[in-house]
């Protein structure tokens, strides 16, 4: 089963990458892009019976390794296929 994990810097934390990208976009004339925040995106291929199992596993893994709770937050999505 496929599980997706999205990791982003906590909203309160200034994101140097996002800031630079926003600046670059504005200098390219894309002023309608008000702000950009960059995060990480993981596609996990997990062995699980149910989507709940998959979600539980992905969450545990995100918690333990994929995200650093001190500065990042994460979200897990499981698609049945």
């Amino acid at each position: 089963m496929k599980a997706k994990v999205f990791v982003t810097l906590k909203p309160s934390i200034l994101d140097p990458q996002g800031k630079t990208i926003t600046g670059a976009l504005h200098s390219l004339g894309y002023d309608d892009v008000r702000d950009v925040r960059q995060g990480k995106y993981f596609e996990l291929d997990v062995a699980a019976e149910t989507t709940d199992q998959a979600a539980a596993l992905a969450t545990e893994v995100a918690d333990k390794l994929l995200a650093n709770p001190v500065i990042e937050s994460y979200r897990v999505e499981v698609s049945g296929d």
Binding site: I13, L14, P16, L65, L66, N68, V70, I71
Partner: protein
């Protein structure tokens, strides 16, 4: 006394630290493989710089799960002096042995150059022999040294005087233009409350001989030697 220099896959300043300790300071030191489960009776532990596990995922994120790290945790809990340099600092953060986290440098670029550090606390295991406010010229070499801690953590760091090094101008004055990587409060290094664990982004082990540009970093390694040889009050254990 004896040093253990931990070698993670991808460490690349392990030999530099070992050389500085043995050839320059004349101290016994041993390279300890990350899969080892004892520290060979070391009195002090160095987590060296480099790119453990390629810095993939996050700097230090994978290395902190190495078998040897649980030994390091016990050793530190017992008051043993532990220093994390650059990647080693990042490992200490990931392991929760020191508070806060790292972001990409403000410029998003890797930066390698000599910077100036002001010693903010002289009662840690690695600054005992330094003088308060002393300015050290030491190199940095990192892409992710932009230190961050949330408001509560910052309050805690101030309250317990856990900021050990700050980036400053050559004359030691605070100035955002000299905050090379954008770290919060220009923090370059911190310690734990017990003051036996120190982490810093700059490389004191690269600044132990004038031949390579500076010997200012020696005081950091000499401090722990002094502490362990019993000159000066050992901070070990004292909270």
């Amino acid at each position: 006394m004896k040093f253990a220099v931990i070698v993670f896959p991808g460490s690349n300043c392990d030999h530099d630290a070992h050389y500085a300790l043995t050839e320059v300071l004349g101290q016994p030191a041993e390279l300890v493989w990350h899969k080892d489960t004892d520290l060979r009776g070391a009195d002090a532990v160095v987590l060296p710089g480099g790119f453990s596990y390629g810095d993939y995922l996050r700097t230090g994120a994978i290395a902190r799960f190495s078998p040897v790290m649980s030994r390091v945790v016990d050793f530190a809990a017992a008051g043993g002096p532990v220093i994390g340099i650059c990647n080693g600092f990042q490992v200490l953060l990931e392991a929760g042995l020191l508070p806060g986290g790292m972001r990409r440098n403000r410029t998003l670029k890797f930066i390698c150059e000599h910077v100036h550090l002001r010693v903010e606390a002289t009662d840690t295991s690695f600054t005992r022999s330094a003088t308060a406010g002393q300015v050290l010229r030491v190199p940095i070499a990192h892409g992710e040294g932009n230190y961050y801690a949330d408001a509560d953590t910052m309050r805690m760091l101030e309250e317990h005087r856990q900021v050990v090094f700050r980036y400053t101008a050559p004359d030691g004055t605070r100035d955002e233009r000299w905050n090379v990587n954008g770290s919060i409060d220009a923090i370059a290094g911190i310690c734990n409350r017990a003051r036996n664990i120190v982490g810093l982004m700059p490389h004191p082990e690269r600044a132990c001989e004038e031949a390579v540009g500076s010997a200012d970093g020696r005081v950091v390694l000499e401090s722990v030697v002094a502490v362990l040889d019993g000159h000066g009050v050992a901070s070990v254990g004292s909270a």
